[in-house]
Amino acid sequence: MSSRPRLDHRAKSHLSYLIYMAHRISGLLLACFLPIHFFLLSQSLFGADELDHYLKLTDFWAVKVGEWGLVTLLTIHLVGGVRLLMIEFGTWRGLRKGWIQAAIVLSIISGLLFLALAD
């Protein structure tokens, strides 16, 4: 005897749901990151040297990986968010699957650009 089945991953394995999840998770992680980002930059209040001291901390490879992740997440959240604005405020043209593909592609490009340009 067990409980009746509930909505599981099979019901949610479609593109629109997946981009919703990616948008939600990226938003949450970015929200956690923002205070740290602002704190670091606010050290500029104490002059260039103080800011440099904190910037040097970001040279550590693990931080660079984190930064790559953040750029990727930011792009997912941006493009996924614009998709939502199109759905909610634009002319109705379906679930905007093109924008989902754009979110994936642009976030990969963003990540690659970061890796290429960062020191």
Binding site: S3, A11, K12, R24
Partner: protein, 243 residues
Amino acid sequence: MSETNLKVKVWRGAEQGEFVEYLVPRNSNQTVLDVVTYIQRKLDPTLSYRFACRVGMCGSCAMTVNGVARWTCRTHVAKIVEGDALEIAPLNNLPVIKDLATDMREFFNKWKGAVGFFKGEQTRHDDFAIVKPDSEERQLANAGIECIGCAVCYASCDVVASRSDYLGPAALNRAWTLTNDVRDTQQLDRLRAVAGDAGCHTCHTHGSCTERCPKQLEPTAGISGLKKLVARAAVRGTKWGKL
């Protein structure tokens, strides 16, 4: 004619129960409803399930097949079978009466709760209401009007699953079509009804309703329309009065 059997797991019981496996001869052009019917007629007469037209018009036969809500009369086994296995369960998000039959009352109560019904002020003694079919409102209404209340969208919605008071895609879709019915006289009540704490803004645009609707309706569109209407009404008021 294939000699193989399908291994079909069917939910037996109510809120508590178990999946029971039946062996059903596999045919070409076999629908999931054919499979359920075979089980009930030849293997186990105690199986409870709903169907009516069996030709994709009434929506009565909706069930969860391999985890996804579908009309069983319009779902070919060949399209969704996993190897030789099928899993058939009652629609999600609705209380189970017995086996594959669910209690649809909350679904229709929410329909009413969203003021998903028409009320006008003309009588038979008045002239016909003139509504141009190519007017913007009529086109918006027509886009969602074909709903037959099968509850596939409701059963697919993750927000319905997590918030029991959420009105759901079908009720909100119907409310949207009526919001665009220029003859209706309850627009303010309707807006207030869908603006509730568990109203249209609770929708997170997962899009499962639009993905799964067997009539290719798009509740996400109607709900987006309601979100805009309600938000503007909350900030600026409506042409029908203050929210």
